[in-house]
């Protein structure tokens, strides 16, 4: 049971070959590039969706921030698609691995912060001290703000990992409970199954929301620093 619970989270290999690379590259196939004036339904739908997301997310940035548009839209598309594909049975979700989320969070956060320090040094340093603090508290507050700054990438990565992993684990556990309960008392199994269905709906939402949150926070860090 213990081995089974975490079996879906081990890095997939096929006869010793890491197919994790194929799994990460797979969502790319699902986004065909438009090559005509009027495309098929899939491409048109994706075009419309990406335009919606782009408008909603990038209006708050200035010109310098908008150079990150491609990066941020790719990010939300990737995280959203990998999360949603991970809901399929017997599939592997790359975003459950902390290593990958750290690999996404740290460079993006560091890029935003270093841009801020490079171009607006005084304003970036000023972020370490909120306005209107009483004078005796200043040293402590600077330390706290520094810690809060350096915890941002960790928080980004761990938030995504924990949410997706917890969702998958919960579905697995409740599925296991349903399985065991079918032979004990069927009505309880039905109730548990309904809980599972509701959880699935939540998981769909969580998959999309987590992608959105990740990207939104990165864009917020960007906004602060451009």
């Amino acid at each position: 049971m213990n081995e089974n619970l975490f079996a879906s989270f081990i890095t997939p290999t096929l006869m010793g070959l890491p197919i994790i690379i194929l799994i990460i590259a797979f969502p790319n196939i699902l986004f065909p590039s438009p090559n005509r004036l009027i495309n098929n339904r899939l491409v048109s739908f994706q075009q419309w969706l990406i335009q919606l997301v782009l408008k909603q997310m990038m209006t708050m940035h200035n010109l310098k921030g908008r150079t990150w548009s491609l990066m941020l839209i790719s990010l939300i598309m990737f995280i959203g698609s990998t999360n949603l594909l991970g809901l399929l049975p017997h599939s592997f979700t790359p975003t459950t691995q902390l290593s990958m989320n750290l690999g996404m969070a740290i460079p993006l956060w560091a890029g935003a912060v270093i841009t801020g320090f490079r171009h607006k040094t005084k304003a970036s340093l000023a972020h370490f001290l909120p306005q209107g603090t009483p004078i005796p508290l200043i040293p402590m507050l600077v330390i706290i703000e520094t810690i809060s700054l350096f915890i941002q990438p960790m928080a980004l990565a761990v938030r995504l990992t924990a949410n997706i992993t917890a969702g998958h684990l919960l579905m697995h556990l409740i599925g296991g409970a349903t399985l065991v309960l079918t032979s004990i008392s069927t009505p309880t199994a039905m109730i548990t199954f309904i809980i599972l269905v509701l959880l699935t709906v939540l998981e769909f939402a969580v998959a999309l929301i987590q992608a959105y949150v990740f990207t939104l926070l990165v864009s917020l860090y960007l906004h602060d620093n451009t």
């Binding site: 739908f45 419309w48 049975p89 409740i174 599925g175 399985l179 599972l196 709906v201």
Partner: protein
């Protein structure tokens, strides 16, 4: 920019010279959303209509009974996820498809608008051009009328001047004629006066007495003649 390196040609096939053929607009017919119709047609001669379905059910039962497919907790999440997906697609599939078709229709409609506006503008310009040409055709009436009126005005002035010239010349000639007449009259009078003067001068006193006696004798004769006539 190559640094002098020889480059091999990458594309060795023939390039396509014509546009690609259009993609099919709708996918092939499928059963259960997964299995193409061709498979059912392939099995139809041997097993009839229910053949593929029996095959599917048989395979599933075989895998379940032999535990080649184990029912795990994951099975239930599979059931819930796949059930949810099928439900959502069946319920909202067509409306989402129509929505996406609308998106494409809007793009096409915009381009049609541009095309129609362009065509309409060109047609309007053609109409305008034709109207202007028609107007230019009728312009000659106006110029004819103007030409006529100018000709008449010129004619009038010419006649007027001719008349004036005639009057002037006549005036001059009348003047000369009246001068001549006057001279002629004056000369005649002068001559008459001169002639009378000389005749009167030439008549001597003797001649005068003789003339008077003759005249009296004539008159006496006439008187006698006159007295004889009224008797007749």
């Amino acid at each position: 920019h190559h640094g002098g390196r020889a480059t091999r040609i990458f594309h060795t096939g023939q390039p396509r010279l014509a546009p690609l053929p259009p993609l099919p607009e709708y996918g092939g017919k499928v059963h259960l959303g997964l299995i193409p119709e061709e498979f059912f047609q392939f099995l139809y001669p041997k097993t009839g209509v229910t053949g593929p379905y029996m095959l599917g059910i048989g395979l599933i039962l075989y895998f379940l009974s032999k535990e080649l497919y184990v029912i795990t907790p994951e099975t239930f999440s599979t059931i819930s996820i796949v059930g949810l997906l099928v439900y959502v697609i069946k319920k909202y599939g067509t409306s989402i498809g129509e929505f996406i078709d609308n998106l494409n229709e809007q793009i096409i409609a915009q381009l049609e608008e541009v095309k129609k506006a362009s065509i309409k503008q060109i047609q309007d310009e053609i109409e305008l051009e034709k109207a202007q040409q028609a107007q230019v055709q009728k312009c000659h009436y106006l110029s004819d009328v103007q030409r006529n009126s100018i000709a008449m005005a010129l004619e009038v002035i010419y006649q007027e001047r001719l008349h004036k010239v005639y009057k002037e010349v006549k005036n001059h000639l009348d003047y000369h004629i009246s001068v001549q007449n006057m001279m002629h009259r004056k000369e005649q009078e002068h001559m008459i006066i001169w002639v009378e003067k000389h005749v009167v001068q030439s008549i001597s006193a003797q001649q005068e007495k003789e003339m008077i006696a003759k005249c009296i004798a004539d008159l006496q004769l006439l008187e006698k003649k006159a007295q004889a006539q009224p008797v007749m």
